[in-house]
Amino acid sequence: MDALIPFTTSGSLVDLVDKKVLVVLRDGRKLTGVLRSYDQFANFLLESTVERLHYKFEYSDVDIGVLLIRGENVVALGEIDLIAEDNLPFVEIPLDEMRDKLAAQEKRRERDNIVKDKVLGSLGFVSDRHEGDAY
């Protein structure tokens, strides 16, 4: 297969079908699931999808199920090494606890950003961090 269509998206992703993969989206979400299908725009169909929330060395999972991801939202697709995955130094915590921690982190970041904007504003710089994402 690889020899027939060597330099296309389809040529390079065939070997990832039916593997456990991690998809990183433009909004920063990390999804893991089994890659069932894809196309030349990097649209992906994932089965048994789980969104993983990270906070330092802790994580929680949110079940999603079957998910079709439109290519424009994709940053990267990685194959998960199942052995390496078992040896990660992470601990799972309850989802509510994780949501609280992430909300607190977001609050701190927002507070820091307000201070930063004030300082930059006083120097004549205009903040544009509210306009879209990094992409």
């Binding site: 330099f7 990097a42 990685g78 992409y135």
Partner: protein
């Protein structure tokens, strides 16, 4: 098309891809397509503490549209050849 061809010559070289979200991934270039989507093998992430989700990932497909820079060794590039190719392509498309 020229840059696509150039990337094809970098196949099997170790390159570093910097994404627009500041994530830097180093690995062996396995394939590239016409959108400059990149497939890297044996990857290593700069600053893994900030990106813990990448620790279990060994090879990665990066969508071309999210790439900011591709860094490569200077010896991987024949600049004179590239210059000539650029002129030739400009000449051919101008006709």
């Amino acid at each position: 098309m020229l840059i696509f061809s150039f990337f094809k010559t970098l196949t099997d070289q170790v390159i570093t891809v910097e994404l627009k979200n500041d994530l830097c991934i180093t690995g062996t270039l396995k394939s590239v397509d016409q959108f400059l989507n990149i497939r890297l093998d044996g990857i290593r992430v700069e600053d893994p503490e900030r990106h813990p989700h990448m620790l279990a990932v060994k090879n990665v497909f990066i969508r071309g549209s999210v790439v900011r820079y591709v860094r490569m060794a200077a010896r991987a590039v024949d600049t004179t050849l590239l210059e000539d190719a650029t002129r030739r392509e400009a000449h051919n498309t101008g006709k």
